[in-house]
């Protein structure tokens, strides 16, 4: 059971007809998800994550490519697959005047086999809200209700599309705890997110998706290790002009990579305790003042930046090393 393929996707393509020309949402995407793992699709807004999972959920038709879910094809065995998957959509507005327990009972009635309503609510920590109207739930509670409704059929395969997006940090953590609790029951989970820390916390393996393609695949640790070092030294020099170049620091012993970012520099290293003294003496020797200095662990965010030259989240400056950005119109989806 441990190495059984639950999802197989080969050369998936989805093109939407758009107002100004076709939108290539997914352009040749390959995936394999194994039984029992929590698999993350990580990528910025508009990368094609929702389109991909909705095709896997049987809610959207691929333009071309092959998709197999639980060993079956949507075109042939939709009923079989639907009984065995659980889905949360990126956004669902549940009826305001229904209670939590009523919604769970309604969704339970659709499945041949499944979990007891009380048990489902316990797993998402909503027992206390069983008789509350949906309209009285907080944002985080509504997301947990969505997860509960995905669980009532006791699915073999669970899809969570951006489960924590838009929540406050505390609700995010709480929901991440719920999702972690759900793991380790032999169930396979596919999760999309544009939060690096979420993918690192929850996922066994991550596919980094950008512009409709997988650009990196592996465990979070593997992806980070690919950068070479595990630490980043961030610093700035006071009143420096263009005379200071990142390449100047790349030459220091132990520095794997040096880039200029914002008004400072970032050095990727494996042993900060050895590199730091060299950096400081180099700056003293060249007569420059250190403006700020921090060190941190490498994250998936750095992996993404290294791969694309862009940050994952919107509204952030591209790194100075970035290739000219291929900008595509991005539609805000309601």
């Amino acid at each position: 059971m441990s190495c059984q393929t639950v999802i197989g996707v080969r050369n998936l393509v989805k093109t939407y007809p758009g107002r100004d020309g076709p939108v290539h949402a997914v352009r040749g995407l390959d995936l394999e998800v194994q039984a029992g793992e929590c698999f993350g699709l990580l990528g910025p807004n508009g990368a094609g994550k929702t389109t991909t999972v909705e095709i896997l959920e049987g809610l959207n038709e691929p333009t071309s490519g092959e998709v197999e879910v639980l060993g079956h094809r949507w075109s042939l065995d939709a009923a079989y697959i639907r009984q065995r998957i659980g889905v949360t959509l990126q956004e669902t507005r549940f009826p305001e005047k229904a209670t939590v327990a009523e919604m769970v009972r309604l969704f339970r009635s659709f499945y041949d086999h499944g979990l007891d309503g009380a048990e489902v609510l316990r797993r998402v920590a909503l027992e206390a809200k069983a008789n509350a109207f949906v309209e009285t739930l907080s944002g985080g509670q509504q997301r947990r209700l969505a997860v509960a409704l995905a669980l009532v059929g006791d699915p073999e395969l669970l899809f969570l599309d951006e489960p924590t997006t838009g929540l406050d940090p505390q609700s995010r953590l709480q929901l991440q705890d719920v999702i972690r609790e759900l793991q380790g029951r032999g169930r396979t989970t596919v999760l999309t997110t544009h939060y690096m820390d979420e993918a690192e916390r929850l996922c066994d393996r991550v596919a980094i998706v950008d512009h409709g393609q997988v650009i990196a695949l592996g465990t979070p640790a593997e992806l980070i290790a690919r950068l070479g070092g595990e630490h980043v030294i961030e610093f700035a020099i006071e009143n420096h002009g263009t005379e200071v170049q990142a390449s100047e620091f790349a030459g220091l012993e132990g520095v794997l990579k040096a880039v200029e970012r914002g008004n400072g520099f970032e050095l990727t290293v494996s042993e900060p305790h050895r590199v730091l003294p060299r950096l400081i003496s180099h700056l003293e020797a060249t007569g420059r003042q250190l403006g700020r200095l921090t060190t941190r662990h490498v994250s998936l965010e750095d992996v993404f930046v290294a791969l694309t030259g862009r940050h994952l989240r919107d509204n952030q400056e591209p790194a100075s090393e970035a290739q000219p950005r291929t900008r595509r119109p991005r539609r805000v989806r309601a």
């Binding site: 009923a79 889905v87 309604l106 009635s109």
Partner: protein, 357 residues
């Protein structure tokens, strides 16, 4: 509940019922609003004997004798077939201006030869009545004798009043609103909230979803129709001459036609603006043309085929035939056929083009 019903159908049906009665605002629009409309219109258009008519005599030579003739008690009181008269005098120019601005209905201008000129707008029914009444009084005052003495047999039967006409119309209107709002608007809202898509991701039998929607719609018909029938019966003494079973058949077939239209307008619309626009495009012509508030026979003959093809026309005229005339099913076949055609046609198209996302 009934054990043989599939759980998914039962749960969907109950969910729909709960969703409705937990929304007091919707309950008002479905029950309160038609009742208020019936009460207001019923009171406003109560049938009364013709009121007395106010007429103006233009001042000038001969006007006194005319005023005197019109002010005798028999003229003031009116009698069968003609209103009582109330007379004032004004200078001709002023009276004429008031007539042209609609504030007077009849101006009587004395002529030097002893006769009069009547100034009035012949398209106003009350002006014609007033003219006939004045002429009758003046001619008699000058010595005309009736050739024979007519007798009047007066009919004042419930069933022929405006309120009796109105209540079946309101039942039809409510049935139309229920189908379009209760199914059309409701579904589009579910699509906007991605709830339809969420359902599509479950193994929910899709026919159960539709059956629950129709079942709840038909369930709501019972109170919808009963409330208005009771109001008509108890408050206005409207007769219900046909059988309730026949009435139920007409209402159910009508409701299915409007459920189909509701489903059709909702089958693709992705925003409330779109669906509201479509619903208005469907409902407003029927509000006006289908004879809810006044008889559709007032429209020109050229429009009648179109008007008769509208489902609301068939529903309201069918309801009137059952309630007021007491006809049986055999006389309602044309109504039922047209309504069924609407139901089948709209469902057929809607189910083919319906989108879950």
């Amino acid at each position: 509940m009934i054990p043989s019903i599939r759980p998914s159908l039962r749960e969907l049906y109950c969910a729909r019922l709960r969703e409705f009665y937990r929304q007091p605002a919707r309950v008002f629009w479905v029950y309160g609003f038609p009742m208020i409309m019936a009460l207001v219109l019923g009171l406003a258009f109560q049938n009364r004997p013709p009121e007395s008519a106010a007429v103006v005599v233009a001042e000038g030579p001969g006007s006194e004798s005319i005023v005197a003739a019109l002010s005798v008690p028999e003229a003031r009181e009116g009698r069968a077939g003609r209103p009582g008269l109330r007379v004032t005098t004004r200078p001709f120019a002023e009276a004429d201006r008031r007539l042209r601005t609609g504030r007077e209905i009849l101006v009587i201008e004395p002529r030097t030869d002893g006769g009069v000129v009547y100034h009035y707008d012949p398209t106003r029914a009350e002006a014609n009545l007033a003219r006939a009444a004045v002429d009758d009084v003046l001619q008699r005052a000058q010595g005309r004798v009736d050739v024979f003495e007519p007798k009047d047999a007066l009919v004042q039967e419930p069933g022929s009043r405006y309120i009796d006409f109105l209540i079946p119309g309101l039942i039809g209107l409510n049935t139309m609103g229920g189908g379009l709002w209760g199914i059309g608007f409701f579904l589009v809202n579910m699509r906007i909230g991605k709830l339809l898509k969420r359902f599509a991701a479950t193994p929910m039998p899709r026919q159960d979803f539709l059956l629950a929607l129709l079942g709840s719609r038909l369930t709501f018909l019972l109170p919808d129709v009963t409330v208005l029938l009771l109001l008509g019966r108890l408050v206005f003494g409207m007769p219900i001459r046909g059988s309730l079973l026949t009435l139920a058949v007409v209402v159910v077939v009508g409701a299915l036609a409007f459920a189909g239209i509701g489903l059709l307008v909702a089958s693709r619309a992705e925003t409330t603006e779109t669906v509201s626009g479509l619903m208005n495009a469907v409902m407003i012509p029927m509000w006006l043309l289908s004879g809810v508030f006044f008889s559709s026979e007032r429209y020109p003959a050229a429009m009648q085929p179109l008007i008769q093809a509208l489902p609301l026309t068939q529903l309201t005229s069918g309801l009137r035939a059952v309630i007021l005339e007491g006809v049986g099913l055999e006389s309602l076949v044309p109504h039922l056929l047209i309504l069924s055609a609407w139901a089948i046609g709209t469902f057929w198209v809607a189910l083919r083009i319906f989108r879950w996302s």
